[in-house]
Amino acid sequence: MAANPLVHGPQQPADMLLRDVHVLDPRAGVDGRHDVRVRAGEIAEIAPPGTLAHQPDEELLEGQGRRLLPAFFDPHVHMRTPGHEHKEDLDSGTRAAAAGGYAAVLAMPNTDPVLDSAPLLRSLRDTAAREARISIGFLPCITRGLQGEQLTEMAELRQEGAVGFTDDGMPVQSAGMLRKALQYQRLCGGVIALHEEDPTLSRGGCVHEGVVSAALGIGGIPTISESTMVARDAALAGYEDARVHFQHLSCVASVDAVAHAKAQGWRVSTEVSPHHLLLTEQDVRSMDTRMKMNPPLATEADRQALIEGLRSGTIDCVATDHAPHAREEKEVPFEQAPMGTTGLETAFAALYTGLVLPGVLDLKLLVERMTAGAQLFELPTPHVVPGELANLTLVDLDAEWVAGERGWESRSENCCFAGRKLHGRVLLTLSGGAVVYRERAFSVVGA
């Protein structure tokens, strides 16, 4: 009997009445103002606004028409534990997620030691059961030590609660190696998530290869480094009828390769990050190390293709690739800096500000794509319907704030959106039936 793939720390089930909130749940087909009652962590009642009476043993929150959404799911975060706790740990990382409106996240295995054995997974899940504010699942490595040479004990890892597998941070360079993992998936299940990069093409590069890399004299990473690997591995997945998930897509050619794979009926899914949806290589001209990530920010045409892919469904979900680094690690010349940006605390507001407000994407679609990751990884999707565990996010779409102005919940501050004025702020997050985040200025009204 396999363990529950998601774990969280001790939680106090919530009893609260959310009065007059605008419930928006695209899957449940709800889009309107309601009173919502949460009892013992479950959504107990949803009724017309102003009709539910406040009971003395529950907290009362006046929603004033603010949006109540199914809480978000992020299939791609780096919690840096074990080994790099100076960047993030399970407490700070899940606090950051809760502040961003997330009820669940999936952590990557490129820690120190890397997560490639059942005892390590067990120990990490034990830590999560003490420290994690929200639900967290783990994707152990496909190959031992991220070396790309030998499979991990995938079946045992699955029994210990592995959600799926990934060598994120590194590609599985050998097609033969990946094929064995895809074959072995028939025994043990678990989605195989792929960081796509051909190191023979990307070596020496740290920004998108193009006009900006040429102007800065910084080595470029060509988009074919990603897209050729997406095409190759989609074909492998098709041949083996395996289930693969492509991580952090960044360019037109990769979107095309995924569209082709889906048209063939191959079982592939994919994600895109807020930064690839909102920023381009032009943002790298300043050589701000917060703009250094892998894959690198590409061109405006690539960005548009990613937005279109997200709209059409070629891209299934949004994932932050939350990658914290300590200040002193990022406060170095661009070429020396590690790759990655934090993203959990800004994802919704950045995308709402950058795509929904200008009319590029519908809010409903954004909410759908920010929650779709759960199902892709065979986990339950939060719904705002009675009888469901409360996994909810209350957001104030009118709130304006400057990213980072009040610091971060994350231990790290390397956020590519820092200093930007954003619209839309998470006020309250419930994960697994418990309040896991409350915006400080959001006053408690009742009880």
Partner: protein, 325 residues
């Protein structure tokens, strides 16, 4: 216009470049005197902070600072706290405690000069940041060319060789165009970065049209590029891209930032030919760097705490005595 730092050649418009090369011309007068020093920067401190091996650039900056009577401290990364793992920021903060007025910085990392300018109050001179820029090289090249050709308006300048790894190429593409020249870069396709044309230059993969050039600027072909298979062999590189007696016409000016690989990017005969201005470039290095330090430290924005003998007026007078029309 006052300049606080020289981080990129983009910090200077055409008028700014002209101002510096004209000031350099005045300093050239000083270099011909028996006593080659002026008191312009007396009491000021220039720190040479070099993270990469450099002989000509560092000594040229050192000489420039000394001719302006500044105190010079050389800090080389090798054999220092850097080897003990000190970060660039901590090194700069530590050295800033000595209150340098200017830091001349050479690093293998693009954008390092910008970073350092945020961490301390000294004027920062970028003496090469990775493969990105080398603005004083561009200034001395403009100075050298103007001495030879007069204005550069309409001149066709070809930059030949390993453009991908060359900070000299990037700064010169910008500077030459600002001065009105037309720039073409040429080299093997593996060493011409995708997107370079966005800087406004033309791209060629052969030297077939080289006769149309007024100026032939060759880059150093670094031997380590061979092991990374950017080109099949030095022999093949030389046969396609070496500037030699057959390819160089007598009316063309030949430039090279040094050090030259004789027999690779240039044949020995052209290095020694009258068209070559390679030693003039080295000579220009000192006076141009004097002008840059003077611009940064003795300009209007200079702090007024310096002793009166080191004030810009005094310096101006010292030079002005023999200032040409």
């Amino acid at each position: 216009m006052t300049m606080q730092h020289l981080l990129s050649i983009e910090d200077l418009d055409r008028a700014g470049i002209e101002r510096i090369v004209e000031q350099a011309a005045r300093f050239a007068e000083v270099s011909d005197r028996e006593i080659k020093k002026v008191p312009a920067l007396r009491g000021r401190m220039v720190l040479n902070l070099f993270y990469e091996a450099s002989t000509r650039t560092r000594s040229s900056f050192e000489l420039a600072a000394k001719r302006l009577s500044a105190d010079v401290v050389n800090f080389a990364a090798s054999g220092s706290s850097v080897e003990k793992g000190e970060s660039l920021k901590d090194t700069v903060l530590t050295l800033s405690a000595h209150k340098p007025d200017a830091i001349v910085l050479r690093t293998p990392w693009a954008g390092a000069a910008e970073l350092v300018s945020k961490w301390c109050s000294a004027a920062i001179v970028n003496a090469g940041d990775g493969k990105r820029e080398h603005p004083t090289q561009a200034l001395l090249d403009v100075y050298t060319l103007r001495s030879r050709l007069g204005e550069l308006d309409g001149a066709s300048i070809w930059i030949i060789g390993d453009v991908a790894h060359s900070r000299v190429a990037r700064s010169n593409i910008i500077a030459f165009q600002r001065m009105g020249a037309k720039v073409t870069v040429a080299g093997p396709p593996t060493l011409i970065p995708r997107g370079i044309e966005a800087l406004g230059c033309d791209v060629r993969f052969t030297l077939d049209e080289l006769p149309s050039a007024d100026v032939v600027y060759t880059l150093r072909m670094q031997r380590e590029r061979m092991s990374e298979t950017w080109v099949p062999s030095l022999r093949e590189y030389a046969s396609w891209y070496q500037v030699n007696g057959k390819r160089l016409s007598p009316r063309q000016v030949l430039m090279h930032p040094g050090p030259v690989n004789r027999g690779v990017e240039l044949s020995g005969e052209v290095v020694d030919s009258p068209q070559a201005v390679i030693t003039a470039q080295v000579e220009a290095g000192v006076v141009v760097r004097m002008a840059v330090l003077y611009e940064l430290l003795a300009g209007a924005s200079a702090p007024s705490t310096s002793p009166s003998s080191g004030r810009p007026e005094a310096a101006g007078a010292a030079i002005g005595e023999r200032q040409p029309a």
